[in-house]
């Protein structure tokens, strides 16, 4: 049995434990008394606040009951915010305002941005952060960078700076974050980067050290996606064979845990799985299973789950399907149970920290202004899951890298929900324990466990992947989704319902001008020329480490000083070979 079978069993066992506790609470007077006393204490500890209109509100809403069975069901089945099994939330207060509205909780906003050359994205970061409370810089890279190619690679010029920022060298990385104090406590940098993640993170660190000195490592806070399993399954940015990719990843994680203590070196992502077509249940099941696989791999290398566990983070999609009302909640619960009961992790390592992005695929070209409403609805669902961070898509998503206007609207959508509306700032746990949520949670959880068991019979995540299991499921579901749209089974306003004859308005596009693309190539050429003497030796050292047993990430920190991303990729594929893609 792969660990997925044991995890499914542990969840069933945990649910039986909860049922048992409920029965005991009802049958055993002494236990009932203890629970009531505990419940009373919890209630007493709840602080009160006041809405602007003068209504007194508890900062934590709890089920209105005194019945011991119901108390047990809530405390063990759902958990208080910040308590096992974390269905309600990872932390106690989440978005609640503090000090009478002076300070927010952790600001979840992370707006994914990237376009053109480094300074174009830098300007976009400045534009966005002017309109946000904290410094949250989330980076989108262009196609060549995502595939580890330099901007001068044959045939890629037209894609340079499209859909994200072009980064070839450590110098581009310096330009990207110029002017931002990344050591500020409220600063956080995310990078959507996968196969070349180790080289890109190494460039980031090298650039940060140049600006803030070597001491900055303890202060740098952020996330790099680096989730290669979902790349094989859904996003298709794999460069090296899977075993080599996993080694590079694990080397990076092992380096980051002690050296970059505030950094999340992997973001285990379901977003791409869902956007490629998977159902919400498949998304959750494949993503959690990938996460458990990383835990196993790291443990096999001798790493301690209590040290690396807290540095794993997650990323889910949030669309309009009803399952999204509970997806984050269910995932947190299953992760906590699996980590505690199968991997023996302690409390800090049990918590699933969640980033959410609203669904890009739910946004369509026809009547595209409706996309504002779709995104706002999805945001609401994401917050009801108490996501730790969140990206909201722009209404012009189907056409282009977001233009300023729509990116700002997307940013403000989050601010309106969190800051302007009273929904999330006064009272924590709006709906937890409600009948609808409970019913959905049960069904979604069951669906996820069924997928775990199916993958278990195939031998676990990696063997299933080699058999194309995840890819075929995702493709089937993606096909069904499109068929549902065009058969009218899945209503899409403006596309298959309430269609008007309005012509498509002219939508401004954010595209990179050819002369900018050539400028990027010129910069790269200058960098290569400058380091032409040192690069070969640096690449040779990298090759030696890869052939040996050393930590590849450790060496990359040196390599990036004199080598470009494309040079590094070519060196690595020369040693470990290329990934053989699947349909």
């Amino acid at each position: 049995m792969s660990s997925l079978g044991r995890i499914a069993d542990s969840v069933v066992a945990y649910n039986q434990f909860v049922t048992g506790e409920v029965a005991r609470a009802r049958a055993n007077k002494k236990y009932a008394g203890e629970l009531r006393a505990r419940w009373a204490k919890i209630r007493q500890s709840v602080e009160w606040t006041q809405s602007p209109t003068g209504t007194k509100l508890p900062r934590l809403a709890l089920p209105d009951t005194d019945e011991p069975g119901a108390i047990a069901a809530y405390l063990f089945g759902q958990g208080l915010p910040g308590e096992f099994p974390y269905a309600t939330a990872a932390y106690r207060e989440m978005y609640l305002e503090r000090d009478g509205g002076e300070t927010p909780g952790e600001e979840p906003m992370r707006l994914f941005a990237g376009l053109g050359l480094a300074e174009d994205t830098n300007a976009r970061f400045k534009y966005l952060s002017r309109n946000q409370k904290s410094l949250r810089l989330s980076t989108a890279f262009d196609g060549p960078t995502l595939y580890g190619l330099d901007s001068d690679h044959e045939g890629v010029l037209g894609k340079v700076g499209e859909g994200g920022v072009a980064i070839d060298t450590v110098e581009d990385m310096l330009r990207l974050f110029a002017g931002f104090d990344l050591t500020r406590p409220d600063a956080s940098v995310s990078m959507t980067m996968n196969a070349p993640a180790p080289a890109i993170l190494a460039m980031f660190i090298a650039a940060a050290k140049r600006r803030f000195g070597p001491g900055c490592l303890k202060q740098l806070r952020g996330t790099i996606q680096a989730d290669i399993l979902k790349e094989v399954q859904a996003q298709n940015e794999v460069i090296f064979p899977v075993d080599a990719s996993l080694r590079f990843l694990c080397d990076m994680i092992e380096w980051c845990v002690p050296n970059l203590p505030k950094w999340y070196p992997v973001s285990i992502s379901g977003y791409h799985i869902a956007e490629a077509g998977a159902t919400p249940v498949q998304q959750a099941a494949f993503t959690l299973a990938n996460g458990f696989t990383y835990v196993e791999l790291l443990r096999q290398r001798g790493a301690d789950v209590n040290r690396f566990g807290p540095r794993l983070s997650f990323f889910l999609d949030c669309g309009l399907d009803v399952e999204y009302l509970v997806l984050g909640r269910v995932c947190r619960r299953l992760w906590a149970i699996g980590l505690r009961d199968v991997f023996g992790a302690d409390a800090k390592a049990q918590i699933l920290k969640l980033h959410t992005q609203t669904s890009g695929r739910s946004l369509i070209a026809a009547e595209f202004q409706n996309n504002l409403t779709r995104t706002a609805t999805e945001l609401m669902l994401a917050y009801l899951n108490y996501t730790n961070s969140c990206h909201s898509n722009s209404a012009d998503e189907p056409f282009t890298t977001p233009t300023e206007k729509y990116a700002l609207l997307a940013s403000h959508a989050q601010s309106i929900l969190l800051e302007e509306s009273g929904l999330f700032k006064h009272t924590m746990n709006l709906f937890g324990g409600a009948p609808g949520l409970l019913a959905l949670e049960r069904q979604v959880e069951q669906g996820i466990l069924d997928v775990f068991r199916e993958m278990d019979t195939l031998g676990g995540v990696i063997p299933a992947m080699e058999q194309r299991y995840q890819r075929s499921k995702i493709q089937e579901a993606g096909h069904a989704y499109e068929q549902q749209i065009y058969s009218g089974r899945r209503p899409v306003i403006g596309l298959n319902r309430y269609v008007t004859d309005e012509p498509l308005p002219h939508v401004p596009l954010a595209r990179t001008a050819p002369r900018r693309q050539r400028l990027q190539v010129e910069r790269l050429t200058a960098f290569k020329k400058k380091h032409a003497k040192k690069a070969p030796a640096a690449l040779q050292r990298l090759e030696n480490v890869v052939r040996g047993k050393g930590n590849v990430f450790d060496e990359l920190l040196n390599t990036v000083e004199v080598c470009s991303l494309g040079q590094i990729t070519a060196c690595l594929t020369g040693v470990v070979g290329k990934f053989r893609p699947m349909v």
Binding site: D142, G143, L146, Y147, L149, E154, G155, V156, L157, G158, K159, E162, G163, Q235, N236, P241, E275, A276, G277, I364, A365, A366, F368, P398, F399, T400, T401, L458, Q467, R468, Y469, S472, Q475, E476, G478, H479, A480, E482, Q483, Y486, S487, R489, G494, L495, N496, V499, D501, P503, L504, V507, L509, R511, T512, V576, G577, K578, R580, P581, M582, V583
Partner: protein
Amino acid sequence: MNRIFPPDARNAPAAVTAIFIPLGDRSPVAGLVPGARFHPMAAPPLRLLTAVPLCDGHDSAITTINLELARHGIEVIYLGYHQSVAAIVRAAIQEDVNAVGLSSYNGGHLIFFREVVRRLRAGGGGDIPVFGGGGGTITPADARVMQRDGVDRIFFAGTSLDRIMAEIKTRYARPAKPARKLKGDRALARAITIAETATFTGDTPRSSGGAKPRAQVVGVAGPGGAGKSTLIDELTSRFLQKIPRGRIALLANDPSHPGTGGAILGDRVSAIYAQDDRVFFRSLATRGSLTGLSAAAPAAIEILRNSGKFDLIFVESVGVGQESDPFNVFHGRKLVDTVLYVLPPHYGGRIQLQKIALLNGADLVVLNKCDDPRAHAAKAEIQTRLDQNQRGQRLHATTAATHSDPGVDRLFAAIAELGGLDPARGGEKACQMEVSP
């Protein structure tokens, strides 16, 4: 009018289920439901090439389109995502497709499509129309520019799948005619298409004359998922590394869908070393043939052999069962010079091994997936089985999935020796860069 969604979006096509054949389920007669009948058709299926451009991994649209095309009886040769202009053009020419469909999302489509059209023209495939889509990222204004540059058709966001299928079927259905004008790989590819059509319509494929050239033809058989395609690709890389000149041809047979007659021929996706002008790769759908090869395969082999262009030709059969004999080892004229039989370690046991007829007839027997713990015991068992044949057959152990596996090196050396390929001298046939403009 910039209406980007069609008015027919509301029309409901009948619900269908996706066609999917997981790798593991592809045996013994790959993908064919026992008893399934092929619908006789008036015309041979359309053959289309589909792909996603370089630095782009958005494959959800194209995989949906592929499934729909196959459901509509079309043969799709899918090249995969992150594909260069050169790879797309090479594949279009070698596969002699009716048209090329591209799905582009990561921008740069104006340049990319234009380059595909330009290089197709330069490489002797100017008659192959190029069409595609990319949701909202390709605007109507872009499409006008692209059309001016020679792109045939762009399908905008919101176009219903039924409408796309109907249009493709009417726009790109054209019978393949023998064409004297065609040159190089395209001429070769067209000859194979004509042979396929002849088989389809019941005519006997043109038999080829000419002197017997010395290309070595290796037929590769084995159960579904044994690693045949992976192994052939690794052997291709050895050919490219070790034989400095000369060309190699690959003929990949894959099952058609029994119900619709369509097919998704995906072997090119995983053939990472076939992306080289020294490689000629052709996919053949079985079109109802149950022998493990397309009925046109014998003719295609002759065409490739007699072209005099190749030193080495690999023919991959679909996954075969215990009694299959795709290359006529036991009956009739042997179709290939060398039969290579690939087994995975999980073949069952001694009894199953006894029943595999091709273990008697194969010239080379390979145990692949030697990274599997069961391989050790399997090696001894298979060698014992081969010793019974008293033909001096030696078992090759490979792990094709590993980069630079020494077992594959040895296997390649054995093949090269059988075929008289001299690594030092290079292949006999001059390398002909037919495609690159």
